[in-house]
């Protein structure tokens, strides 16, 4: 059972600048364990930078990021042990086969070899890659590479997955099975933080949604809460998103912070209403 008071991810006053551009600006966000969370924002809003800092792939200039209570700056190994990061265009090793790739990833997370072998087999069969398991991945299509990277992210059974545009390049069948898998993964008490430009995915899958613009969270909450924030009762997520990220939209920082803090200690959710 997850420890109730520890959020899966807690970001406090995060700041990251690249020369004169502030990519992430005093960002605060708390995601409870077992939540399917979507992080939305226009291009260049700071989503990927934030996720890369969480994953330990970039260092913050200021602020603190905790994964299950482990500070990614001071206790990176403990934080990394419980999460997986899947970038939008995952790079595999073209000269390794799918099985060799999964053996390598499992080894990085110290998964016992017999367990890793069983999981690799199950994942490849489930993702319909079993017949290609001994082929070099250089010959894989984009969708196949995406599925294999997903298998790599799952093989060490992380408690939290950070997914950057996970459905890019997948055909309809593969996209559906991946979506089902993600929902099932969350039902088992795990956490997902996902970015996507396909708002329909966020609308159907995510229990809570954060909207990020110019490096700040401008709104966070369930879809109904976002509608209330935007003053658009009954609107689609697309309408709400466009309203909240439009130039000249009212600053909602304060509102966002209230939502963030109010939800920080939340651990149980009424999830079914948002499931596909």
């Amino acid at each position: 059972m997850p420890t109730v008071n520890i959020p899966a991810l807690k970001i406090t006053n995060l700041v990251k600048a690249f020369q004169s551009t502030t990519a992430v600006d005093q960002l605060n966000l708390s995601i409870p364990q077992g939540e399917f969370h979507a992080l939305l924002g226009p291009n260049g809003a700071g989503k990927t930078t934030t996720l890369r800092i969480v994953a330990g792939l970039a260092t913050a200039d200021l602020g603190r990021v905790e994964v299950f209570g482990n500070d990614v700056a001071t206790d990176a190994i403990a934080a990394k042990r419980v999460m997986a990061f899947l970038p939008d265009d995952p790079l595999l090793y073209g000269k390794l086969t799918a099985l060799e790739y999964l053996e390598f990833v499992a080894g990085l997370w110290s998964i016992e070899s017999a367990v890793a072998a069983k999981r690799a087999e199950d994942l490849l069969k489930w993702l319909d890659l079993w017949s290609k398991a001994n082929e070099l991945t250089e010959g894989y299509s984009r969708g196949m590479r995406q599925k294999l990277a997903l298998a790599g992210a799952l093989i060490h059974e992380p408690k939290m997955m950070i997914l950057d545009e996970p459905l890019t390049g997948l055909d309809a069948h593969a996209a559906r099975s991946v979506k089902d898998m993600l929902v099932d993964y969350v039902k088992r008490g795990n956490t997902i933080v996902l970015t996507t430009h396909i708002l329909e995915i966020a609308e159907r899958l995510a229990e809570r949604i954060s909207i990020i613009q110019k490096g700040k969270i401008v709104a966070v909450g369930t879809l109904d809460e976002l509608r209330a924030t935007a003053g658009q009762s009954g609107a689609t997520l697309e309408d709400v998103f466009l309203n909240l990220t439009a130039d000249g939209a009212p600053s909602l920082d304060k509102n966002a912070d209230q939502h963030t803090n109010a939800n920080a200690a939340v651990n149980t959710k009424s999830s079914d209403s948002n499931q596909p």
Binding site: G56, R81, F104, A106, L108, S110, E121, N134, E135
Partner: protein
Amino acid sequence: MIAKYFSRPSTLLWLLKYELFFAWRNYGGKSKRRGIAWTLFLWLIVHIIAIAIFYGAAAAMARGITFPPKTIIYTGIGFWVFFTLLLSQTLALSVNAFFSRGDMDLLLTSPINPKHILLVRGLGVGLTAALFPIVLLIPFAHVGLFAGQPKFLAIYPAVLSMALLAGAIGIWLTMSLVTLLGARRAKTAAQVLGALIGAFAFIGFQFQNFISRSTREAMSGWFDVQTTTGLLTPDSPFFWPVRAFMGELISLLAFVAFAAALYWLVATLTYRRFVEGAQEGQRGGLIRKPFLDANAKVRYSQGLMASMSAIMLKKEWRLILRDPQIITQTLLQLLYLLPLIFFGMRGGQSTVLLIPSLIMLTAMLVGNLAWLTVAAEDAPDLIGTAPMTLNRMRIIKAVAAVTPPLVLLIPLVIYWLGKNPLHALVLAVIAPLAAFSSASCYVLNPQKANRREMAKRGRASVLTSILEITSAMGWAATAYCLIKAPLFLILAVPVALAAPIYSYLAGDEARRSGVLT
């Protein structure tokens, strides 16, 4: 007339025009102007050298000095040795040009005759391979014309025929490899074969040093017979290409006709295989084992071999072993080293030079491997998110890079231990130091690179390349000083240590950034 023909799309010349246009656009890479300036400067120098040779030869002949009758034989043999190097280059280029170029899909889906595509691309390969001799020989045609010897204009068609001949043999060998091995394996095989052909020419020069005196004399006798009454007399067709370069009309016509006919014949016979190979090249990757059936079970390494470090090493070595470029390069270095090792085994003064040479080659090979394992890591995000410190990761990658070359040295160390313990000790101690110094250029000063750009890695980071070579030379000099001149260690050791010290200081910020490269 020609312009009108060019304007007709889809013709052979139209395609050739575009091939040349693309080659021109790609020439010189990012610093195109500098590339052109350097080429023109080199051309000017070669023109000056050509003038000197022409007037030197004219002055010699004016004094009544004549060239010995066997000059044509030695020049002809030199031509064919050089041609093997050209062929080696052609092979290295051809698989890429035929099966890897991104525009092959577009070309093959167009209504252009595939034979024309093969003809144009093959010519492109031949001309690219022959670029160096073209730059080197054409000035002699110009100088010859101004010196009242217009027959030297024959160099133009002769050098083009040489490119055609190299292209024809290159296409034939490549398509044979594709038939035997499939398009994907053929790429590796062609690179290795190209390297072997190139090394063959080099080792050929050294051959007389390996054989006994009696064998050498017997071979010399055979050679004399062949050059006076046998296959290699000055009139032999074997030497027609050289005569063609010198402007002898019949030889020139024969050489041009032979090269063009062979080129056309090879293209006609192989273009179907080319299309099949190109289609295969676009399909999936190599299958390393048969397909798994539904009931097959996966078995991974267990125990110590399943530890995080072992898994990392295994992955790095797998990728190295499956990299055709690094295999070719290593094979070449080893082949070029063979004569040196042979002399070293015989003993004498050459061992003193062999130890530093071995150390330098080891360091340079480690540089290649460290670049591959550290800078050219394909999935830095995956490595960066793994629960292992980046420092540990970097150490494992350095070990992956230094181990293979050092393992290759072990038999030599053991051999010299019995013959000359000092030499063995110097090799055993300095080679690992040189290896880790080379690796430090990438481990201590992380930088991002693309595995596919290995051939251009020197240009991508000039400073790192200079440091790498300086360090290798420094350690080689250290080894020499330990054996011969210990006083000079005071100069050699600082040079050897410059690379790791600089890399440590310069890479401090990058190492702290939280990413591998």
